[in-house]
């Protein structure tokens, strides 16, 4: 009985504190459990590794904002780095103004890391990678890109004419894009699947928050999407694949978080179990009376 009272009366803030500790402590004393690569992650990796010829184009959709960047930012970094390491061209596109800032941040980071680590294979903005200007209209933009990408955007996000950029050479529409990886935590993923994949047959891979990951398995089975990175774990798996290949130098944001993720999950399970014990005990007592 005392235990039940304790649970009902316990100040939430103690729970908050313990959760914070569960996440901070693993950062200070990391263990680094090994992890398996799941099939949906591997299929995106393999596609970039094996199915795109040198000079090919990967389009990355940065349709997320800071509220989900913890999960999606690491994905953008790994995909862009992977593409650059295979000498592919990378285009960032966004359907929301907030995403433009995210993409800009990724491009800057990836280029810096890359150029610091590869003095003999420098990559340049506008030549190997760029951000297409943000243009409103969501589905209209996705559709228009299937007709003519340069006409859709006119300029890149920095104000340069797209037709002058080397990175855009011989790119007309989706036929010239080898893979698109859409990073988003909202239903905009469907927009890409319905229009870009459905109408124009573009290969789409999904990178999404863990909240939506379970929902998108339908599109993997129906082959509308070629693969998926789900949440921080998906990004961590990809980081590991890249390190194994020897082409990732940046901070492994997702991988270092995995210990904290593990301990927090255990804490959640304990909380649910304790809470339910209390619930059933008090239900029994009420029933007995």
């Amino acid at each position: 009985m005392r235990f039940i009272n304790f649970i009902n009366k316990l100040d939430k803030r103690w729970i908050y504190l313990v959760l914070a500790l569960c996440i901070i402590i693993p950062f200070l004393f990391p263990i680094g459990f090994p992890m398996k690569t799941t099939a949906p992650v591997k299929s995106i990796y393999d596609f970039i590794e094996d199915s795109i010829p040198e000079g090919g184009v990967v389009l990355i959709g940065a349709d997320y904002d800071p509220s989900t960047m913890a999960e999606l930012h690491p994905m953008a970094k790994v995909i862009a780095t992977h593409a650059l390491s295979n000498n592919l061209r990378v285009l960032f596109v966004t359907l929301y103004p907030q995403g433009a800032g995210m993409a800009q941040d990724v491009i800057e980071n990836v280029l810096r890391e890359w150029n610091n680590s590869n003095p003999d294979n420098q990559k340049e903005l506008g030549k190997d990678i760029t951000l297409l200007a943000y243009v409103p209209g969501v589905s209209a933009v996705v559709l228009k890109m299937g007709e003519d990408i340069i006409e859709t955007f006119n300029e890149d996000g920095y104000g340069n004419k797209l037709s002058d950029l080397e990175v855009m050479k011989e790119i007309k529409n989706y036929n010239d894009i080898d893979l698109m990886v859409e990073l988003a935590g909202s239903a905009v993923v469907l927009t890409w699947l319905i229009y870009a994949n459905g109408r124009y047959g573009l290969n789409v891979g999904i990178g999404t928050t863990a909240v939506s990951a379970a929902e998108y398995y339908s599109y993997l089975q129906s082959k509308q999407a070629i693969g998926m990175l789900g949440g921080l774990k998906g990004a961590a798996e990809y980081e590991n694949l890249l390190s194994k290949k020897g082409v990732y130098w940046g901070r492994k944001d997702a991988t270092v978080g995995m210990d904290a993720q593990s301990s927090a999950h255990i804490f959640f399970i304990i909380l649910i179990v304790l809470g339910n014990i209390a619930y059933f005990v008090s239900k029994k007592q009420k029933g007995g009376r």
Binding site: R13, M69, N154, L193, S218, D253, G257, A260, Q261
Partner: protein, 201 residues
């Protein structure tokens, strides 16, 4: 690594902590940060719109490329400004009707195709245990959301199967959501410990 000496990192850290103070209790620091965020994000949106849209899609084509075809949509768009004046605000309904009408026109055939693809993927040519689960799961879930028959007898039993599938799916989503929320917090801790305090790499 040591404590950051970057002024902007400090700003970011202070704002982060101001928001976390809400966990203790609601307070003016939190409110300040929250409202500041509303203002800044709209201001940011306006700026990106200005440079990446108004300039690239409207100003440049009109002034430099002399492309007067953009005038019609431009006029339609300008009607949107009528919202700022109460007595003519209804004019903004025309561009809204255009955007919504044309948008739905574009979406109907594609949405149907999308739906068909999902049904098509549920028509296998071979059978194994996984496929049987998929087919039974899809059919029973659909029956659960079928409202023209009372959930009694056979239909009732099938819809029970359906709700069981739904619960497993929700459970998976639930587990994944825990993961997502924890990840967001991990992201912030990483910022505080590494970029700001410099305790970890």
């Amino acid at each position: 690594m040591a404590l950051s000496s970057n002024f902007w990192i400090w700003i970011a850290a202070i704002l982060t902590l101001a928001i976390y103070s809400f966990l203790y209790k609601d307070n003016p620091f939190y409110k300040f940060a929250e409202y500041l965020l509303v203002g800044i994000s709209i201001g940011y949106g306006i700026s990106v719109y200005w440079h990446n849209t108004i300039i690239t899609k409207v100003f440049n084509p009109l002034v430099y490329d002399k492309n007067f075809l953009v005038l019609i949509p431009l006029l339609l768009g300008l009607l949107m400004f009528s919202r700022f004046f109460k007595n003519v605000a209804y004019l903004s309904r025309i561009p809204i009707a255009f955007v919504v009408g044309a948008g739905t026109g574009l979406s109907v055939p594609s949405s149907f195709e999308f739906l068909f693809k999902q049904v098509y993927a549920t028509m296998p040519t071979k059978l194994d245990i996984g496929i049987i689960i998929i087919v039974i799961g899809v059919i029973s879930t659909l029956i659960y959301f079928f409202f023209s028959l009372e959930h009694k007898g056979f239909v009732g039993r099938v819809s029970r199967v359906g709700i069981t599938f739904i619960m497993v799916a929700f459970g998976a989503a639930f587990g994944y959501t825990i993961m997502a929320r924890v990840s967001l917090f991990i992201g912030r801790i990483q910022f505080l410990l590494s970029d700001w305090l410099g305790i970890i790499k």
